[in-house]
Symmetry: C2
Subunit: 183 residues, 2 copies
């Protein structure tokens, strides 16, 4: 699919058809994450594909926060997820010297990988939702993810009903773009 | 351009031709940032396009860190930049309640906008480099950017010599992807 169409049409899907995503497709999507750019090419990420019943139960549990809230009330409808986990970034010494933080770019790196996965999914006829909130402690308990490996995003992947994309609601161009001076 | 081609061919450009980027193209690129997804649709970003001599001088100065280091030793070659600035994110109360941090998703949001801008540039025949390091204090002093507006990324945009893309160096698939359990 052409980028222009993807940019204009990609949107969060919160209602999935009861149709399984092929493993080959999930692999292609994870591959798009793997090929993504990252600060110092550190690739500080791990992608855990979840599409089997027992693992899905564990994941859905971790999408409900300790306070009972959730960013994915529709989680039972979707049966394929990619858990996007931040790992220690092996960045250049210059970054450590200046920022004193190996993870300075990591959140952004993971998000770029996630967007690439959204687009790859779209190219395969699939829809996605980026879930920002999860219960890190449950992720650790349910999957044995180490405490210093932060689950940043969970990407839901599945088939959506075909319909016209929603109108994008965004701030006006003049509010977010300025030229040659800060305005 | 097709997404598949973009994913495989997009790479950092650190050597630019002496050829100006049209303002309309920079506007289209910023527009791709504006249309990007973000946590709670907060759009916690501002994009400052820099392509005029005086502003370029200020920007190039801020790409040299206080310790003399820089992520863009080639900065004089490139004459169009987009400065990607993090602003306070107006997220849902549930995010504030759970994470106590309005900026929980902001770095990722800006990075997704940046990747969209890279792809939009590519679609226009342009090359990019995502510069992660900058001197925040100089950004504030040179442009009057407020101290609570963090310059996260600077995107260099320009024309590259035509040549074959470099081979992507990435961790092996099995090192970064696991299935249904943490491995």
């Amino acid at each position: 699919m052409k980028f222009e169409e993807m940019l204009l049409k990609r949107e969060s899907c919160r209602s999935y058809l009861d149709k399984a995503v092929a493993k080959e497709d999930l692999i292609k999507i994870a591959e798009a994450g793997r090929l993504s750019p990252s600060g110092c090419n550190a690739q500080p990420w791990k992608f855990m594909i979840v599409n089997e019943p027992e693992a899905l139960e564990k994941l859905r549990d971790a999408l409900v926060l300790s306070n009972g809230g959730t960013g994915a009330p529709w989680r039972d409808q979707c049966s394929s997820y990619i858990v996007i986990v931040e790992q220690k970034a092996n960045v250049m010494q210059a970054v450590l010297d200046y920022y004193g933080d190996s993870q300075r770019f990591a959140q952004g790196d993971l998000a770029m990988a996630c967007l690439n996965m959204c687009y790859q999914a779209m190219d395969l006829g699939l829809s996605t939702c980026i879930i920002g909130m999860n219960d890190q402690k449950k992720m650790e308990a349910n999957f044995g993810i180490p405490a210093d490996n932060i689950v940043r995003l969970v990407l839901a992947v599945g088939y959506a009903e075909e319909k016209e994309p929603r109108r994008k609601i965004r701030k006006a161009f003049d509010k977010v773009v300025c030229f040659n001076e800060w305005k």
